[in-house]
């Protein structure tokens, strides 16, 4: 699969503040890359450089082999971009706005109509085409932004927090859309939500303080958290001790932690050896021993914990 986006050692400072400190990445066709990171990490700045809105102090970006700074028009023709907050011309209607974008991108006459129709269908804008954009709800505004980005069916899509502020239904709809387009395009999506990375992205990078600090699939990232993949058990407090001793004998269980105790219920956590999948083993063991439990589920790493893990390890390495 060809590499459609290549960013080499991008750097950007605003006065004394170093926003981006040497970020490189590459995205192939068919890949959806997730940008994760706390606020101010440099996600948006990186995206602005990739799309040619900001000029990097150092480094360069190539879209489909075209250098964004040297051949901006050609590179941007291959790119669809949804900026943060989905800025739009409020006084225009979606139809007028999308027509404008289509014309700027070189479509004329009947082509404009067909391109518009396709984008409108994919984003479900049919009912609001003649309404002024400023009167639309946040969800619809976001959809107009997406429509504008996919109008010309670009090989590369860059979306800055596309589901931010949307309700669960709308989030779902957008993620569906991204998944649909994923096979034919190289897509970069930035987000705060790990769940989104799981749902949509094939790979993710975590950015902190202008640098990439983690790179891998969603699974890879979650594994950084010690309790990821652990089996959590909720059981009546009287039986807790029994459960603990039974599970600790299991060869694939490192140890069992007591997470909390409340209202006669204890939350236990069985930590696996080497991240092995122990759920089935634990369940059958408990059944054999006839130990009834209220709940049994597999814990998944949470994004804030991943972040915390990374930032603490960074601080540790700084002090080392």
């Amino acid at each position: 699969m060809p590499v459609l986006v290549e960013a080499e050692r991008l750097e950007k400072s605003f006065g004394p503040i170093v926003a981006v400190d040497g970020i490189s990445l590459s995205v192939k066709k068919g890949e959806v890359l997730g940008f994760l990171g706390p606020n101010g990490a440099g996600k948006s700045t990186t995206m602005k450089m990739i799309t040619g809105f900001l000029e990097p102090d150092r480094g360069r970006t190539r879209i489909c082999g075209l250098d964004v700074e040297e051949s901006p028009k050609e590179a941007k023709a291959k790119l669809g971009y949804l900026p943060e907050g989905a800025p739009l011309y409020g006084e225009m209607t979606p139809r007028a706005f999308l027509t404008f974008v289509a014309e700027v991108r070189g479509y004329r006459g009947a082509d404009v109509k067909s391109r518009l129709a396709l984008a409108v269908e994919r984003t479900g804008l049919g009912s609001v085409l003649e309404q002024r954009i400023e009167t639309l709800s946040k969800g619809f505004k976001r959809r107009v932004g997406i429509a504008q980005a996919i109008l010309h069916d670009p090989p590369v899509l860059v979306m800055d927090e596309p589901t931010d502020g949307l309700d669960p239904n709308q989030k779902h709809h957008v993620r569906e859309l991204i998944r649909e387009m994923a096979t034919e395009k190289a897509i970069i999506v930035s987000t705060h939500i790990l769940e989104e990375v799981e749902a949509v992205c094939t790979r993710a990078v975590i950015i902190n303080k202008g640098r990439i600090v983690a790179d891998g699939t969603a699974e890879d990232l979650m594994r950084r958290v010690p309790y990821h993949g652990a089996v959590a058990i909720r059981v009546a407090s009287e039986r807790a001790r029994a459960v603990i001793s039974v599970l600790e004998q299991h060869e694939e269980v490192t140890r069992v932690e007591t997470v909390s105790e409340a209202a006669g219920r204890t939350h236990l956590r069985a930590i696996p050896v080497d991240g092995k999948a122990i759920a089935t083993g634990v369940a059958s063991l408990l059944r054999d021993k006839a130990l009834a439990v209220d709940e049994l589920f597999i814990e998944r790493g949470r994004l804030d914990d991943v972040f915390r893990d990374i930032t603490t390890s960074e601080q540790d390495s700084n002090h080392a």
Partner: protein, 248 residues
């Protein structure tokens, strides 16, 4: 991909339509026509002078432009910055030149429209007497060119800052200097204190000097060169400003 001029035209079309999306446009046009009319007929003593010409009408154009044109110009870029649409615009396959040219053309056309709306005054004068229509035509052309110069400067300043108030004040100040440099008092002071070349140089760069020549009825090439070269320079500066803000 469309040609540069085509792209600029598409952007100009969008910009021009945007003017009329709010009542702001109608308000501006009304104020312009009313103000020029008021200055011409009442303050300019049109009826007292009893002459069939529009000298009093055109005499106030430089000063009215000083107030009204920066208001039109300042929203060109400052608005896009504030709403964030600049990020959208600058990631479309267009070059800064095309965007700047398109926006300028739309703004100039809008001011041109304002001038056209004052034609009833021209018709009135023809009904009241027998004016020199050649002079009036020349004056309209001169006024249109001068408005273009005001706009180009305003557009450049608008690209420098996000703050529309600062953009307005700065643009008005620069234009003020360009107008005042042609006022007799300033000219005489210069002639008294500096070598003749300086006074002539300043005069050749003044809006007022060139505009006054044109309103006499003679369209001299140096005047056309002046306005067009100033517009070109301001647009070039505009490109630099947009480019630099991109890097900032």
């Amino acid at each position: 991909m469309p040609s540069s001029l085509e792209t600029a035209a598409i952007i100009a079309k969008r910009e021009f339509a945007a003017y009329f999306a709010t009542p702001l446009a109608s308000v501006f046009l009304t104020i312009f026509v009313a103000a020029t009319g008021a200055f011409a007929f009442y303050i300019g003593g049109f009826f007292d002078r009893g002459q069939a010409n529009l000298h009093s009408f055109f005499a106030y154009h430089p000063w009215l432009y000083l107030l009204l044109v920066p208001a039109v110009a300042m929203r060109l870029w400052a608005e896009e910055r504030k709403s964030g649409t600049i990020e959208l615009l600058m990631t479309l396959p267009i070059s800064p030149w095309e965007a700047i040219l398109g926006k300028f053309a739309a703004a100039w056309a809008f001011v041109g429209l304002a001038l056209v709306l004052t034609f009833p005054i021209w018709i009135t004068v023809n009904l009241l007497g027998d004016p020199d229509n050649g002079v009036i035509l020349a004056s309209y052309l001169g006024s249109f060119l001068m408005a273009g110069a005001f706009l180009a400067i305003g557009s450049f300043v608008s690209a420098l800052t996000k703050n529309q108030v600062i953009a307005f004040i700065l643009a008005a100040t620069i234009c003020f200097l360009f107008v005042m440099s042609g006022v007799e008092l300033v000219q005489n002071t210069l002639r008294a204190w500096t070598p003749g070349v300086v006074a002539q140089a300043v005069s050749s760069m003044s809006f007022l000097t060139h505009f006054e020549h044109i309103t006499r009825g003679v369209v001299a090439l140096p005047s056309i060169v002046f306005f067009l070269s100033l517009i070109a320079f301001a647009l070039f500066a505009n490109v630099i400003a947009v480019d630099q803000r991109k890097a900032a």
